[in-house]
Structures are given as C-alpha cells and as structure tokens.
C-alpha cells in the first residue's frame, strides 16, 4: 500500500539528469518542477519542466546547493517530492532530512543510510561486519602505528580519503619509504577538498576492474540486485565507458556479486536506488567492497537497457512506499548495453574542458541519448562539460560496441571540441573489444593514438571541399540577381573560388574550386564527380569513393566521422585585428592625465588615462583584468582617433576570444 502519492516532482538538479527524471514523470503523469541557476536560465530542462523556479547565482553554492531554497521552491510549486539526481545534494543526509521535515517525499535512501556510507571507513566496517568481502585495510584511528598498519595491509597500498571520491586525496604507495609523505599529502588534499582530513590504507590491486551492482530496496524490507555494471574503462578515475553486464563476470560470479550487494543493502536497510561498487581483481573471481553510492548513478541507463526496467520509476514507487514489483525481483539480462560519456573536452590538450556553443548536436535514433543540451546550447564553464550519455543496446557485447561506436562516429557534434573520436577509437580498440580493459588501461595506453581524429588530413580536405560547395550552393540559392547563371560562371576562367576554414585547433585550410560552364561539375580540383550539391549536403565521388557529406554550421559529418570546419571570414577588418586588449582613442584629443604605469596589474574598469576632446574629459579604462603591457602616451600628447593609447594583456580574454 502506498503511504503517499507523488503527483509533482521537483528535481534538485540540472541538465541531462533533470530531463531524465522528467521523462519518467511525464510518462507516469506526474508533474515536473525544475530549479535553475542563472547560467541555466535558457536550459532545455528548465523549458521542459511544467514549472521552474530560479535559484539565482551561477556557482553551485549559490544555486543547486542551496537546500533551503530548493525546499522552498518545492513548497511554492506544490511539489510533493524531491528527486536529487546525482551530485549536488544527492548524498547530503542533512538535506534529505530537511526535505522529509518539510513534509515532502525524499526520492532516495534514508538519511541514515547516506550517513553510514558517507564515511568510507565506517562503510568498510559495516560491510565487513555484514560479511561483504573488503580489501585488507587499516583505519589509522586505533592507535596502531602507520608502519605497522601498512605492514599488515601490505604493499602496494592505497591511501584514501574517508570522505569524498573522484580520486582526490588518493595516493598509491609502492613501499614503506614513500608512505609517510603520501599519507600527509593525501590528508592535506582531503582536508581541503572535503573538509575532512581522515584517510585510511587499503591494499592496492594494480590490475583490477571496477564492477558495481545496481541495488534497489523498498520500505517493505526487500533489497534486490539488478545485475552488475562494468566501469573499468576510466581515465584518471573518470569513467569513460560503462557497460552491463561485465565481460569479466560469469553467471556464478554474478550470483556471488548479487549476494554480496544484497547483504550490503540489507545491512543498511536500504531503500531506493543505490550502487555497491566492487573491485574485481583482474583475471580472478576475487572481488572486494569499495563503497556504496546512495543515489542514482550516471551510468544507470545501461542497467535499464538490459533489464527493461525504468529505475526512476522504481525510485518513485519506493518513495511512495510501494513494494518493488515482481518484474524487478527477477530482472532479465537481455543482451548487452554500453554507455559512452560524450564530453566537451580536448583530448589533444590533456582532456581539458572546452566551452562554447554546441552549434549542432544530432545523434542517430538507433541509440539512446540522455542529454541536457541541443543544437544551439551553450557549454558553460560553470558545470561539468558533459554533452550527453550515448547508450547502445545489442544482442551481444560486440554488437553493442559496434552500434555505439557507429552512432558516435556518425553523430553531428559541432561548435566545440569533444572526446567523440577518442570514444570511438576506444570502443573499436582490440583491448576494449577483447574485454581486457582494467581500470588503469587508459592510463597506460597511447592516448594520443586513441584520440587521433577519425578523419585523416585527406578526408578532411574532401570534407572541406564539400563544405565549400555547400556554401556556394547556399549563396547561389540566395542570389537575388543573375540567379539563373551557373555557379561561379566565367567566360574567362582565370581565378578559382576560394573558401577558407578553421579545422581542429584553429589550423587553417584553404579550398580552391572551379565549376565548369554548367555549374554542375568541377574543373578544379580534378577527379571529383559531383552527384548532388545542396546547402546542407553534398554527394560526391573522390578517389572512386562516393559519399554523402552533411554540412553543418561548424563541421562536415560523414558516416566515418566528422571534420570540424568553421568558416573563416573572407576579409579581415584591420580595426578588429588590433592586438587584443589594445585601447584606441575614440576621437582626436589631448591626453590630460595618465593614471597608471606600464607594467602595472590592472583590473577591468581601472582608469588608465583621461583624454580631453571637445572640451569634455573622457576616462579610458582597462577593458579586462591583466597586465598593462604598453602605455605609449604621456600627459599633453595629441592623439588621433584610432591611435593606440594602452595595451592590456588579458590572458583570459584572449583565450575566450
């Protein structure tokens, strides 16, 4: 019997997970409420919600982490439940309690379970007691000397922060000599990152896999395991590919993992969705408890695709006090599901996040796409730069990997640099396909080779030609005079047409082309046969291969991959090409006073000098933070309009430009 009924859900989160929860709500006839920060005011999830409430601020602390404001929003909008998504307030027991105290339904495990699992040391202890295998470890809290503790655990070992995750406050120690320093460093890092400097030691298994079991518990004492996921493909502890089931798990091991996970859940009287993470020692059937994540995981869709269950629906069901349905008790394991995390980041630049406008984002319908963005969305610097989770389902692992790689390769992801090509190469690599990838594989692998563009220089040149021809077709179609004359027609064909593009990393690519008298075939470059040319797609044969190139605003998309090609302006306006940060005189006048010295650090708005013109004083201020690298004028100087008055080197501004 339900103890409550959920009619309207507020999602205390943003982006793809907010949309994911909303999608289930819509299907179930449940109303939706979004809360949002300033940068998210135009976001898709805000527009799709029935009602949205601004939280203000751009930093998480000013917006999504403001539990009181979130609860107030729920009360104001008549929401009866709060779903926290992942991250932000999802594992904040205090918030969970406050939600319940406000008379709202908390879609998540009990605050007690969250607290219990929030400390890794505490969690280890509880799990050990429940009979869940844990790695040999030492908690450094019982007076035992560090060296003794380390000797008991054995080398190599891992120093880990009790709070938090994500690799922060974590150190691998190979031998006793490095121990003390590593512990100190980990304590420092954990202290500053999580506000809790507690660390502990744990045996380190250099070759291991990350296998986790999806838990679902209800308030009637049922705890179910919905099979495992394998998230071994990681880069510096960031998950890259997740799949279900695990290629390293057979039926017998699956049963043992489920058994251990259920024990863990039962020990916690777990309700709702959670994940028990295990370390599986490579090449063995030995697994050890790592931690419990008391929330819906980012990678939950792979479980959904192999079980046919809607985990958000189950969460809502449990939150209403209902019993888990029979279907969840014996979940099928249908085929294979695989998820890739598509990020706005630059693999060639150490995977640093990239911001910008996602000018086109289109993925084939053959895969599931969980995303918070669409064509035209901004990738802002305020949040995790994940563009989407792309999830494929196949009868076999090979089929799922093939479909996922193919969907990613064919996708249009334009306007920002992404890890797409890297994902495709990982999915197609023999190591991954062989199921051999352990958690350190990508840290050992030749990442540069895996991140190489899918389209080589020659393919990019053909793509650029297609883009140039599409541009020409668009211009001819828009021509208002002499529109019936063939494209670029000349009775004396002396000079070809030129199109310039910026490819990856702003490399410039110039394409020259010339149509024949009919405007339907090319004279230059030679050897190209055109079949269809339109402003958005070009079909041509190059080197005997006929392909269709889809031409988008910032890239050309082919089934084999995408070539980033941003149109460069035909002309350079020299006034716009002044070195960034140059301040020019807006009018002729006299420098009245100079207020700063060359070399000084200035912030945006700092007055630099005063100009007198037409009996008026004009203050010239720094346009950005930076160094005043030049100030070529002095008091009393006559200046003309356009003369450079000062140059401010603003590294941030230049990068943004």
């Amino acid at each position: 019997m339900p103890s409550a009924s959920i009619n309207r859900v507020l999602v205390a989160n943003r982006g793809e997970i907010a949309r994911r929860v909303f999608a289930t709500c819509r299907r179930l006839g449940v109303g939706t409420v979004a809360v949002y920060s300033e940068p998210d005011a135009d976001a898709l999830f805000v527009r799709e919600a029935d009602v949205a409430v601004a939280l203000g601020g751009s930093s998480p602390a000013d917006s999504y982490l403001r539990g009181d404001a979130v609860i107030a929003a729920a009360l104001a909008t008549g929401a009866d439940a709060i779903h926290p998504g992942y991250g932000f307030l999802s594992e904040n027991a205090g918030f969970a309690r406050a939600v319940v105290d406000a008379g709202l339904i908390w879609v998540g495990p009990s605050p007690e379970a969250i607290v219990a699992m929030g400390s890794k040391i505490g969690a280890r202890e509880r799990m050990e007691a429940a009979g869940v295998p844990v790695l040999p470890g030492a908690h450094l809290t019982d007076g035992e000397s560090l060296d003794d503790a380390a000797a008991r655990v054995g080398f190599p070992l891992l120093v880990k922060a009790s709070a938090g995750g994500g690799g922060k406050g974590m150190r691998v120690v190979a031998d006793a000599g490095a121990l003390a320093g590593a512990v100190e460093a980990a304590q420092r890092e954990a202290g500053s990152a999580f506000g809790d400097a507690t660390v502990f030691l744990e045996r380190y298994a250099p070759r291991s896999r990350h296998v986790e079991v999806q838990l679902m518990g209800d308030t009637h004492g049922t705890v179910l395991a919905l099979h495992e996921r394998d998230c071994s493909v990681q880069r510096r502890h960031q998950k890259v590919i997740e799949e279900a089931p695990s290629p390293a798990v057979d039926a017998a091991l699956r049963a043992r993992l489920a058994d251990a996970a259920i024990k863990a859940g039962q020990a916690l009287q777990y309700t709702g969705a959670g994940t028990v993470e295990f370390l599986l020692v490579d090449g063995t059937q030995d697994f050890f408890f790592l931690e419990v994540n008391t929330r819906l995981q980012v990678e939950h869709p792979v479980t959904e695709l192999v079980t046919g269950l809607d985990l958000v629906e189950l969460q809502l069901l449990v939150a209403e006090g209902r019993a888990l349905p029979a279907a969840a008790a014996a979940p099928p394991l249908d085929g294979w599901a695989m998820e890739a995390r598509l990020y706005a980041e630059d693999p060639a630049n150490d995977f640093l996040p990239v911001t910008g406008t996602l000018t086109r984002f289109e993925v084939d319908d053959a895969v599931r796409v969980d995303t918070g963005v669409q064509s035209g969305s901004e990738i802002s610097p305020f949040y995790d730069p994940m563009i989407a989770k792309v999830i494929a389902h196949g009868a076999t692992r090979e089929e799922a990997a093939r479909k996922l790689a193919d969907a990613l390769a064919r996708a249009a992801v334009q306007g920002t640099t992404t890890n797409r090509d890297f994902l495709v190469r990982v999915l197609r690599s023999p190591e991954f396909l062989g199921g051999e990838a352990d958690t350190a594989w990508l840290d050992r692998a030749d990442v540069a080779a895996l991140a190489a563009p899918l389209l080589d220089a020659e393919q990019t040149r053909v793509a650029a030609l297609a883009a140039a021809l599409a541009g020409a077709a668009g211009r001819r179609a828009a021509a208002t005079v002499l529109a019936g004359v063939p494209s670029g027609w000349r009775n004396n064909p002396a000079v070809p047409q030129v199109a310039r593009f910026a490819t990856a990393h702003e490399d410039e690519l110039e394409v020259r082309y010339r149509y024949d008298r009919t405007g339907t075939q090319l004279v230059e470059p030679a050897g190209i046969v055109l079949h269809a040319v339109a402003a958005d797609a070009v079909t041509l044969t190059a080197d005997g291969l006929r392909r269709t190139y889809r031409v988008g605003p910032d890239a050309v998309t082919t089934p084999d991959g995408e070539a980033p090609l941003r149109k460069l302006p035909r002309f350079v306006d020299p006034t716009a090409a002044l070195s960034a940060g140059s301040l020019t005189s807006p009018m002729p006048g006299t420098v009245l006073r100079v207020l700063a010295e060359a070399g000084a650090q200035v912030t945006a708005g700092t007055p630099l000098l005063v100009l007198e013109a037409m009996k008026m004083e004009h203050e010239i201020v720094a346009p950005a933070d930076g160094t005043l690298s030049a100030l070529p004028v002095a008091a009393g100087d006559q200046v003309s309009a356009g003369d450079v008055l000062a140059v401010v080197d603003a590294p941030d501004a230049q990068r943004a430009g």
Partner: protein, 532 residues
C-alpha cells in the same frame, strides 16, 4: 506555348566535323585567354606578386560576391595590334553585394597599366554600358596614366573618360575607385572624378605630377608620399574617402560602399519560372557548319537557348527566311529575331519591322541571332521595293528602345547587319561565336565586284583587261577581307563585346538580360516615318 522539336543528330558525321572545327577555334581562343591572363609576362607578374600585390583578375575575384558570375568584356581588344591583347585593362560585369556592377581593373604588369588608344576605347565602351544599363562602376586603379608614346592618339579622346565619370554620377550611377598603386597625371582623375575613393595605405600614389615633374615645373623638391600618398590624401587633401590597410581591406571597404548604396533595380527582372532547354547545349558546338557556305538551322540553336525550348513563332508562314517569336531566357521574356535562310527579302523586313514594334509595345527585350548574307538584290527585288522594306526594318531597329542583345552565330553582312541591330545600332550587348564573320559583303563577292568594276572601266577605256592582274587583285582582296571579317578581327577592334563559346550562349544572354534589367525596360513611344 509551342515547343521546338530538334531533329539534329549530334552523332552524325557532319556534326562530328562541325564539332571538330569549332573546338579547334575554341582551342585558339582558350590559348589567347591563357596568354591574356599572364598579363605582361612572367617577369612582370613575378615582380608584381613580390610586392604583395594581386593581379587584376584576382582583385576582381576578391571584390565580387563569392560564386557569382563574371562576364569579362572585350578581352581581345587590341589583338593583332602593336599593343598587348586586352589593352592592359580588364573589364566586365559581375555582382558585388547583390548589386550588378561594371568592374574595370588596370593591369599594372603591362607597361605599368598605362593607357593606350585601345585602352581608352575599351574604357569608353564600359562607360556606355554603365549608362545604358545603369551599372555602378568600380574602378580598380593602378596605372601610370597615358602611354606617352601614343599620346597623339590618346590625349584628345582620353578627356572623355573624366567627363563620363561625372556624367555617370549626375545620372545617379555611383562611381567607386579603389586605388592600389600609381594613379598619376590623367590617372589621378579617376579617383578625382569618382563618387567614392578607397586608397591602399603605403601603395596608392595619386598626384598630377610626380617629384621629377614638380622639380621641372617649379623647382620644388618633394617626395612621393607628401605629393600623393594614401595617408596624405586620407588625412590632408581629403581625396581619399577611406584608407585601406591592404588590398583585401580595399575590397572589403569597396564592398561595404556598394552595400550602402541603397541600390534599386529598375527593370522588372525575371517574371517567368526559368526552365532548362530540352536539348543539350553541348550540341551548339556541332551545329554551325564547318564550311560557312553550308547553312544550318537556327531553330536548332533556339531549341538550346530558350527556357524549356518554348518558342511562340510570330508570322511563321510569312517571310520565312527570318523567324520572329516569343520565348524566355532565365525567366526573362524575350522577342527573338533569327535569320533562317540567310537572306532578307521584303517580307522578312516588313515582318521584322512589325515584330520590333510589338516588342516595344510590351516592353520585351529583343534577341537577334545573326546569320545573314544580306538583303536580296536583283531586278525583281528592287522593283518590289526592297529598299523601302529594308528601311522599315532599319527604322524600327534604330528607334526601338527595348534592350537589344545580339549574337553573331554565322555571317552578318552588309545592311542586314545593321537591320539586325549590328554594332553600329547600339545594341546593349553584341557577342560573336568564334566562327562569326562580318563585313560589308563576303570576300569573294567583294573581290568579284571590284573585278567587274575594273573590267568595265578597262573596257570603257578600250583597254584590254589584264587577267593576271585581276587574279592577283582578287586573291589579295579576298585574303584581306577574309582576315578582316573574322570574329577575332572584329573583336580586336571592339566591334563586339566578347567572343563566346557557343555552349555559353544561353548563360551569356541570361546574364545580359539580368544586366539590362538594372535599367528600366521600356519600349519606344514613337518611330520614324515608315515608308509605305
């Protein structure tokens, strides 16, 4: 509307022979264009490029809207003369910021871009085109002024170039000068007389007299920059409206000027949905007979020029040697006058006179396809009033106000050339196929006429006619006329606007129609008295 049906077999032996002959002529033309595009030769082109400068056609290409067409005019001006083919000036019609413009560019790799009498002739033809079609004129200037050794032929007519610029301006037709280098003495008046001027910094030098001339005239010592530098003109004299940082910047500014012209076209533009002809325009190289004495069917040409090959023939059963009718090209309605059997008789002349008046009634441009040996001569025809009827046609053509576009696709001889709106009759544009021939009459006829007259004169004097002399004379005259009547010979004199590849005819006419619609397309309200 009626549709033309083709019976032409492009795979026949005759077609193959015709095609081979035409392609040979086109190869010659292409070779000339290649030489032309090489400007003043490798040495001068290399020197020009080394200065970071663009060639005239590159400048034009950068000025024009991307992927828009450009019709280069009179490229063979001055061919077969002492001057470089093309007359060191590149000119033509293209689109800048959606505005159809006339663009001319000096070729500074040829004698510093200096103007000779043929350059003037070409420039003046450009001005005519600008006036008739209301085309803004953009001059890409880099010229040392007059080619001094030819000053005797250039000085007096050259004055018209200054006058025409300001007359264009007075008609509301904008003139824009982009100055890339020297523009001295007479050349200085091109920017001087233009509505808008853009000077390239550090490159443009515009003065009446350079340092040597100033020294000679007044004893003053001066430098290039202070006499005529771009910056001086932008900041001091005010002759430069815009100072461009470099060549591409000059194009950018030039395009901005055109964008802000608030330009409006006065003609209605295309009013019908365009449609490709039903037959392959490639056949147009195989249609004209390799032997000019063998006639070919002009309707087969029309079937490859007109939209959808649709042609409503007017008076098809009367005066059948000249076809008149209505069709469209690129959606522009046109009236067509096409010679069919070459000869104009009284009926043809009368029909043409009526048809031209009809076109003027409904403001429809006329397309003349010349393939005529002339008005018919002979007792019956003179007595039948061929002069009166020819006069009617010439009256109609002369006073017609709708735009005339001519293409000489074969012969165009004698008064029939006039009646078909030949160059002397100010057609808006006149183009020639490479096989075109035009003169007062055919070489053999002309030589024969001279022979008969000479023989008559000898007989009148009672002398014996020298047959040997006659044979030589006829050979010489035939050879002279033969060389003077070719398309290239006429084109080099500026008697047409371009020799075109027959396969481009539809494109060129469509483009020309787009040009004439820049000005009002209106028929005449009155004609001369038609002699009845």
């Amino acid at each position: 509307m009626a549709t033309l049906r083709s019976s032409f077999d492009p795979r026949s032996d005759a077609a193959a022979a015709n095609r081979a002959a035409m392609l040979e002529r086109l190869t010659e033309i292409d070779g000339l264009l290649e030489t032309l595009n090489g400007g003043g030769g490798e040495k001068y082109v290399a020197r020009h490029r080394k200065r970071g400068k663009l060639l005239p056609r590159e400048r034009i290409a950068l000025l024009l809207d991307r992927d828009s067409p450009f019709l280069e005019l009179q490229p063979f001006m001055a061919h077969h003369t002492d001057f470089t083919t093309g007359a060191s000036l590149v000119s033509g019609i293209g689109v800048v910021e959606g505005v159809v413009c006339f663009v001319s560019a000096n070729d500074p790799t040829i004698r510093g871009g200096a103007s000779n009498p043929y350059t003037l002739k070409k420039a003046l033809r450009g001005h005519e085109i600008c006036v008739a079609n209301r085309l803004p004129l953009i001059s890409l200037v880099e010229s040392g002024g007059a080619d001094l050794p030819t000053q005797a032929d250039a000085f007096v007519p050259g004055g018209a170039t200054f006058r025409n610029l300001t007359r264009l301006s007075s008609l509301g037709i904008p003139t824009i000068a982009l100055v890339f280098g020297n523009s001295t003495a007479g050349g200085a008046y091109v920017p001087g007389m233009s509505d808008y001027t853009v000077f390239v910094e550090g490159r443009a030098k515009v003065f009446l007299g350079g340092p040597p001339l100033v020294k000679m005239a007044t004893g003053e010592d001066s430098g290039d920059e202070e006499l005529g530098g771009a910056e001086m003109h932008a900041k001091t004299s005010g002759l430069a409206d815009y100072l461009a940082a470099d060549e591409q910047d000059a194009m950018r500014i030039g395009r901005e000027i055109v964008r802000s012209l608030n330009w409006r076209r006065h003609g209605p533009g295309p009013t019908l949905p365009p449609a490709d002809p039903l037959y392959d325009t490639e056949d147009l190289v195989a249609l004209p007979s390799a032997d000019p004495k063998v006639p070919f069917d002009t309707r087969e040409v029309l079937a490859r020029l007109l939209d959808g090959s649709r042609y409503d023939e007017f008076k098809p059963l009367y005066g059948a040697s000249l076809s008149t009718g209505w069709g469209a090209i690129h959606g522009h309605p046109v009236g067509v006058l096409a010679n069919i059997q070459g000869i104009l008789f009284s009926e043809e002349a009368q029909k043409a006179a009526q048809f031209i008046q009809l076109a003027n009634q409904k403001d429809v441009p006329l397309v003349f396809l010349h393939n005529t040996t002339g008005f018919m001569v002979g007792k019956d025809y003179e007595q039948g009033g061929i002069i009166k009827d020819g006069a009617k046609m010439i009256n109609a053509v002369s006073n017609s106000k709708v735009p005339h576009l001519g293409v000489i696709i074969g012969g165009s001889y004698g008064a029939a050339n006039y009646a078909m709106s030949g160059r002397g009759y100010d057609p808006r544009f006149l183009f020639s196929w490479p096989n075109a021939q035009s003169s007062v009459m055919g070489p053999a006829q002309l030589a024969g006429v001279l022979s008969i007259v000479a023989r008559g004169a000898a007989e009148a004097r009672g002398q014996e006619y020298d047959e040997e002399f006659d044979k030589n004379m006829r050979g010489m005259v035939e050879a002279q006329i033969e060389s003077e009547q070719t398309a290239l010979a006429n084109s080099s004199r500026g008697y047409d606007d371009a020799i075109i590849d027959p396969r481009d005819t539809r494109t060129v006419l469509g483009l020309a129609l787009g040009v004439v619609h820049n000005a009002p397309v209106e028929g005449a309200e009155g004609f001369g008295v038609f002699r009845m």
